[in-house]
């Protein structure tokens, strides 16, 4: 992976930049030492690292605005950062950038149960948003597996999903408003506690824009009342095809589970060894969860198990208690950790039409043989969002490159069958160079023009999302 040459002009001005940042922020909010900036050299895509020129940790929207205004005036690129859990390198710095971290902006500003929203500062973690409303029986629906650590800011920038988005939608479907600071320091309010936009849907555009259009400092989020209860059923099959067909049939039947998760044999074996959840040793496993009162849960599970039985499952285990539910989820929840025990892995995020599932799984296993790298599949089957984990050895010369090449082939396959490169992790730097596989030059040019409107100087997170060749002219102009 290639990153642009840092701007010599910016690098030579480091002292002035730091001095001026310290005029507008408290001393401890500006980090610039060679050693200290290391803590910000990467996000969760740890294969790529680069310490930034400086890091700032503002504590208010006004401070964010002052920092951006200054960087705009001095022509310094800015990389916004939430908690740094991006799997796509979205928060990866460049040597000539200021990392703007929102971790200190973590207050709850307003909770309103009658109108069912919460307003928070954007550095607040996803789980602590739910934490703030839980006592009243409410929750914030999007639940990425990283929810203990990731910030609402990053969730908005990536339009993150979670295990329960089949029913509740992803971030964009639960976001009502933001305070957005533009690169020139202008503070804007988009949306609010009401529904939909009166003009163009700028909120929809901001969500998923990967920190390239503005810095989000506050967010108004929809909160929901917790369901009375929830219970999963575990269904094992001796073929991926049959499991895929079962998913399709459940959806067609009209019951809408909150989650349909899928694991294949390599993943089942790895998690069994690690977490001992008592999963059957089979080819494919589904976890289907439904919500409601006890009776409602029983009714829905009856429909689902009836469908499953038609597909001759090798195992069908309905949870009868909290404890059994936890056990069923245990393996799924520790899947990434389990794979990490075995090896280094790369987690892909392509989405495919659910109907293409058997074909794609077969092709992935062929690619696995061809490249000589093992793959485990664990994903949100209800919405076709795949997470193939390619195992490799970071210490073995050439293995990372081999793994990246195989990853690219899998993602291209997702696009070929009518899907896309990324369902919830974002493009970042990781999938940047595959964008021409999904979009025409014209499709991408329109997106670049959108950035031209919000950030004409191309200073906000400029080396992400789009292939470097597509943005070269715009970035070079900014660097001079």
């Amino acid at each position: 992976m290639q990153m642009p040459e840092p701007s010599a002009r910016v690098l030579s001005q480091k002292t002035q930049i730091v001095t001026r940042l310290r005029e507008i922020l408290p001393e401890e909010a500006v980090i610039h030492g060679e050693f200290e900036t290391r803590a910000y050299e990467c996000d969760a895509l740890t294969a790529y690292k680069c310490p930034p020129l400086a890091v700032v940790l503002p504590s208010s929207t006004a401070e964010v605005s002052a920092v951006l205004k200054l960087c705009h005036e001095m022509g310094v690129p800015v990389v916004p950062r939430g908690s740094g859990t991006s799997l796509a390198g979205g928060a990866l710095p460049t040597a000539d950038c200021v990392v703007l971290g929102v971790a200190r902006l973590n207050d709850v500003l307003e909770t309103d149960y009658d109108n069912r929203f919460i307003r928070v500062q954007s550095g607040r973690t996803n789980l602590s948003v739910t934490g703030a409303v839980e006592e009243e029986g409410f929750f914030y629906a999007p639940d990425p597996s990283s929810q203990l650590a990731c910030a609402i800011a990053g969730n908005i920038a990536m339009n993150s999903g979670g295990a329960h988005c089949l029913k509740y939608g992803v971030t964009t479907n639960n976001l009502l408003g933001v305070t957005l600071v533009l690169m020139d320091g202008t503070v804007t309010q988009i949306g609010g506690a009401y529904l939909d936009s009166g003009g163009l849907d700028l909120l929809g555009l901001i969500c998923g824009s990967e920190g390239q259009l503005g810095v989000v400092t506050e967010a108004t989020l929809r909160i929901l009342r917790k369901p009375e209860g929830a219970r999963p059923v575990l269904i094992g099959f001796d073929s991926n095809e049959v499991a895929g067909a079962c998913v399709s049939d459940i959806i067609k039947a009209g019951v809408l589970p909150v989650a349909i998760e899928f694991m294949d044999r390599p993943c089942i074996r790895a998690t069994e060894a690690f977490a001992k959840a008592g999963y059957p040793d089979c080819e494919a496993l589904l976890i289907v969860e439904v919500e409601g009162s006890e009776a409602e849960i029983a009714d829905q599970l009856a429909v689902i198990t009836k469908i499953a039985r038609r597909h001759n499952p090798v195992e069908l285990r309905e949870s009868g208690s909290e404890e059994e539910s936890a056990k069923i989820w245990l393996g799924r929840k520790s899947a990434f950790g389990a794979m990490g025990q075995i090896n280094d892995y790369m987690c892909l995020d392509g989405t495919i039409p659910v109907t293409a599932l058997p074909l794609v799984l077969r092709r992935i296993s062929e690619l696995s043989t061809q490249y000589g790298l093992d793959v485990a599949n664990v994903f949100h089957a209800g919405d076709g969002n795949m997470h193939p984990l390619i195992l490799f050895d970071a210490n073995k010369a050439g293995d990372l490159e081999l793994c990246e090449a195989m990853g690219a082939d899998i993602l291209k396959l997702c696009v070929q069958v009518g899907g896309c490169l990324t369902g919830e992790h974002g493009v970042g730097v990781e999938k940047r160079d595959l964008m021409f596989d999904q979009f025409s030059a014209q499709d991408l040019e329109v997106q670049l023009k959108v950035k031209d409107v919000f950030d004409p100087a191309w200073l906000l997170n400029p080396a992400k999302v789009f292939p470097l060749v597509a943005t070269a002219a715009r970035r070079l102009e900014a660097a001079e």
């Binding site: 988005c165 003009g199 849907d201 899907g419």
Partner: protein
């Protein structure tokens, strides 16, 4: 009137245009017949019930889409309104028109708006270039989300040629709880407590003095939730008859009557605040638990625009003038004016998508 029958022809038509293009689908949503119709781009291109996805050309009649879905017991969950009765228009609503206006109905409170169900678009920009964004899968964060941007852009950024949706199963059963005679504040409090309960209310409205709360799902579950909600809501509530929601969705009490019609979005508890002491005679229908307010006012002077828009801006929200006579239209903009920084961004986007300013010019500002 130009009436292309393919996306390519549509692109050529736009590229060759020398002056303004007034785009129309079925012409039912109160924007006139226009001089460029997309009704010729018609047909469902893909429907996979097992994947809950449907792709259709923009000019496909909404009725055709709904019929095809209904045959598999599925639907567009956002319940798009039919504007014909309210606006006194005739014609066949198209799926592209639904998207261009981000048209949603009572179920918006629970499942989201048209923009939330929309997963992909193809469109022709103001230079005649064909652009795609999103696709046919439910989860997609590849590049900027222009899909949302196109929903509710009223054809000012591009002419839609194809739209893709996430659809949902039709429930087995439906029931509505009703209560007569609540004042606005009490009605909204009741609707808020129902919407804030775990019982998955799929619509809450007050219309003609009656407050209504809808529950949908498997039969036994609907019965159970009705019972629990009746317990929660207290005296005066009972199970109502069927067929109470078309009237709400299509704002039928204001159809065929004199007067201008406003559509206002605020947070639910602001509804009574907005309407109390407006200083102009009005009738009101609350949908979305009180968050969507339909106002019928006298079709005279500015139809209350000055006071309504000022109050809405103060509370946070927006007011759209959905129906009015020519005299009012001449002095009142259809959409709520945006604060300066947002207006500048919107104008900037229009210039990028339509550099010649020929797509529905001036329609949104």
């Amino acid at each position: 009137m130009k009436r292309p029958v393919s996306e390519l022809e549509l692109a050529e038509t736009v590229a060759a245009a020398k002056g303004p293009l007034w785009v129309s689908g079925g012409g039912t949503r109160g924007f006139g017949a226009g001089n460029l119709s997309v009704a010729g781009l018609s047909g469902i291109e893909l429907y996979e019930p097992g994947a809950l996805t449907l792709v259709a050309k923009a000019g496909t009649p909404l009725a055709e889409v709904e019929a095809v879905l209904a045959a598999q017991r599925q639907r567009l969950a956002f319940e798009p309104m039919d504007h014909r009765a309210l606006l006194g228009t005739v014609g066949e609503p198209t799926i592209g028109g639904v998207v261009a206006g981000n048209v949603s109905g009572p179920r918006r409170v629970q499942v989201g708006a048209c923009r939330d169900a929309l997963i992909g678009v193809r469109f022709v920009d103001g230079m005649g270039r064909v652009i795609k964004n999103g696709g046919r899968v439910m989860k997609n964060v590849t590049g900027y989300d222009l899909v949302k941007l196109m929903a509710g852009a009223f054809g000012t950024l591009g002419v839609l040629s194809e739209v893709s949706f996430k659809v949902l199963p039709m429930p087995e059963a439906e029931a509505t709880l009703v209560c007569d005679g609540l004042d606005a504040a009490a009605a909204i409090a009741a609707m808020s407590s129902a919407l804030g309960s775990p019982f998955e209310v799929t619509a809450a409205a007050q219309i003609g003095g009656q407050t209504r709360i809808r529950i949908e799902g498997m039969a036994a579950s609907v019965a159970y939730r009705c019972e629990r909600l009746l317990g929660l809501l207290g005296a005066g509530w009972q199970v109502g008859s069927g067929g109470l929601w078309t009237e709400v969705r299509d704002v039928l009490p204001f159809a065929g009557r004199d007067g201008a019609v406003w559509r206002v979005s605020v947070k639910p508890s602001d509804g009574p605040v907005l309407t109390a002491g407006l200083g102009i005679a009005h009738e009101v229908i609350y949908d979305w638990g009180g968050g969507l307010i339909w106002l019928l006012v006298e079709d005279f002077k500015d139809a209350g625009a000055a006071v309504i828009r000022k109050r809405v801006a103060g509370l946070g929200g927006h007011a759209t003038l959905v129906r009015a006579g020519d005299e009012v239209r001449a002095q009142v903009s259809r959409f709520q004016p945006e604060p300066a920084p947002l207006a500048a961004i919107s104008a900037g986007l229009r210039v990028q998508f339509d550099p010649r300013g020929i797509l529905n010019p001036g329609l949104m500002g």
